[in-house]
């Protein structure tokens, strides 16, 4: 697999088109909205979610924004992954994701934990693209902090 193909795996290109959760839900009834922006390339995302009444479970993640296929795929994969997840678990996944992405290829994301998003491990070898993959996750982190 060439460098380019390991970065842009089928799964990633596929998610960048499917964009799970794309289309921002109405603000009403949502717990938090976060807007994130990468000033270096102009990419941006707005990510909104609802927490269960007990405040412990992530529900109905939706988002909007534009950016490269890595950023779009990452948002899509993450949305799929965290739906219905306890917030503590989601936070732990965000931390692990950040650590792996900053590892310059030394840490692989566990497929059992990260599902499709594990395909983003390859991004960590491209320092300039790490921010693209992180954008949605930072928005989620922000939402959880606000919610």
């Amino acid at each position: 697999m060439s460098g380019l193909e390991s970065l842009y795996q089928e799964l990633i290109l596929d998610h960048s088109k499917r964009r799970v959760g794309f289309g921002l839900a109405d603000e009403e009834g949502r717990s938090a909205t976060s807007h994130q922006h990468n000033p270096l390339c102009g990419d941006e995302i707005t990510l909104r979610l609802r927490l269960d009444p007990d405040g412990e479970t992530v529900r109905d993640v939706t988002w909007e924004g534009n950016g490269c296929s890595i950023s779009q795929a990452s948002a899509s994969m993450m949305t799929e992954l965290v739906e219905g997840m306890p917030r503590g678990e989601a936070s732990a996944l965000i931390d692990g994701f950040r650590e792996a992405l900053r590892s310059r290829g030394t840490i692989e994301l566990d497929e059992d934990l990260y599902l499709d998003a594990a395909a983003l491990s390859g991004v960590s070898k491209y320092v300039a693209r790490v921010k693209c993959a992180m954008l949605a996750w930072v928005a989620l982190e922000d939402d959880l902090a606000r919610a």
């Binding site: 060439s2 460098g3 380019l4 970065l7 842009y8 290109l13 088109k17 270096l40 390339c41 102009g42 990419d43 534009n66 950016g67 490269c68 296929s69 890595i70 779009q72 491209y126 693209r129 693209c132």
Partner: protein, 421 residues
């Protein structure tokens, strides 16, 4: 015709590889590569003649001062100017800030009585274009905000040309400054300097030319362009980082108040006040970029030896080949594809259905270095409905073969990302 093999051999970095591919460097509008002669000039200075200039009486310092002032003469000459019309800056951004702050200083009463002519008054207007690099936009925004002047802009037409009809109504007798790029770093079109200067002159406004993207690419005679002030950056014209030039008509530089203050720009200093030297020293506070000036002089000597008219012709051929090739690839939209205009060798474009970052990554995997993003021109991108584009920019050392490698790669982008399928 340039002897490209010989030229390329002068640039050590061009022999690098990216992964398995030879490097195809098409990012010279961001920063150019440096010929060995530039590196050697700096190293030779640092290892043999380095000493504080304009301040020492010892032999080494006298030698260093001479090399430094010879460099000024060389670089000034390259843009058609006299040495005392060239101020060293740390780059174009610093040069434009210098002008904006100096006008701000005149506005609050600093500088000699002759500086009053630059002072801004309520209702005064500053004019830029919609195609500005942020470096020629934000300093004017901030000057307007500090002084109460109004910032206006001349729009760009759909084809990337400056709307000179609109310019004639935007520029009025309220206009005090007209700042514009000789060549936009996104559009590559050589702007109609004479027309804009004529409008500004009629309005009695000061003209400020951003020559960053023209100085490395075409024969430049700033006095002949009749602008009041102009800036360029060394690192974009084969020279070192951290140096640039501010050219000024003598009469303008002489009246402008200082910007940065400190050592070597003064005559007498007391604890309460200082008096200032004439230009260019008035604008050169503190230790100057000495080795960099010497490096930049080597760069302009290199360019002049190759011959700027030949450089321009070569780059035009590359630009034409690139433009033609890109137009023939489905889903590519060129920015600023005006007909019948003079250009430098760069094209920015959008690939339908593929984000600029992905295009850049795809090209990088084939060793092709281009720039992706807004290229420090957000308003211009917004005007074309984009947040980012891909820009390929050539310099004298690029070849037609490299353009073909680039075109071949671009033609595979949409298929790879499954766009339009």
């Amino acid at each position: 015709m340039l002897d490209l093999a010989a030229i390329r051999a002068d640039f050590p970095l061009l022999g690098e590889r990216v992964g398995d591919s030879p490097l195809v460097y098409l990012d010279s509008a961001a920063t150019s590569q440096k010929p060995q002669a530039v590196i050697d000039a700096e190293v030779s200075f640092l290892t043999r003649s380095n000493a504080a200039v304009h301040r020492g009486a010892h032999t080494l310092a006298a030698e260093a001062t001479e090399l430094f002032e010879d460099a000024r003469t060389a670089v000034a000459g390259f843009v058609g100017a006299a040495p005392e019309q060239l101020v060293w800056t740390s780059g174009a951004t610093a040069g434009l800030n210098l002008v904006a702050y100096a006008i701000g200083n005149a506005t609050v009463g600093r500088g000699a009585p002759a500086s009053r002519r630059f002072a801004l008054h309520p209702g005064d207007e500053l004019v830029v274009t919609e195609s500005e690099h942020h470096a020629n936009l934000i300093p004017w925004q901030e000057l307007a905000a500090r002084t109460g002047a109004v910032l206006r802009h001349i729009p760009v037409r759909d084809d990337g040309t400056i709307d000179t009809d609109a310019a004639a109504s935007v520029i009025s007798n309220r206009t005090r400054v007209v700042a514009f790029p000789h060549v936009s770093n996104v559009l590559g079109i050589v702007n109609p300097v004479a027309q804009l200067v004529a409008l500004a002159r009629e309005a009695g406004a000061l003209t400020v030319l951003d020559a960053c993207q023209s100085a490395p690419h075409l024969p430049l005679d700033l006095p002949a362009l009749d602008v009041d002030l102009a800036v360029f950056s060394g690192h974009k014209m084969l020279g070192p980082y951290a140096i640039g030039g501010l050219y000024g008509r003598s009469e303008v530089l002489e009246a402008l108040p200082p910007f940065l203050t400190g050592g070597s720009m003064i005559t007498t200093v007391t604890l309460d006040e200082a008096s200032y030297l004439p230009p260019p020293q008035r604008f050169e506070a503190g230790t100057q970029p000495v080795s960099q000036a010497i490096g930049l002089a080597a760069a302009v000597r290199y360019l002049a030896d190759v011959d700027m008219a030949a450089v321009h012709a070569h780059e035009r051929a590359l630009e034409a080949r690139m433009g033609e090739g890109l137009r023939s690839i489905p889903g590519i939209r060129l920015l600023g594809d005006a007909e019948g205009v003079e250009r430098v060798g760069l094209w920015a474009f959008d690939v339908d259905g593929v984000h600029a970052h992905d295009v850049g990554q795809f090209l990088d995997s084939r060793g092709i270095a281009v720039r992706v993003g807004h290229h420090c021109a957000q308003p211009l991108h917004r005007r074309f409905g984009l947040t980012a584009s891909v820009r390929a920019s050539a310099a004298l050392y690029n070849t037609a073969d490299e353009v073909d490698v680039f075109l071949e790669a671009v033609s595979g982008v949409r298929a790879f990302f499954g766009a339009g399928s």
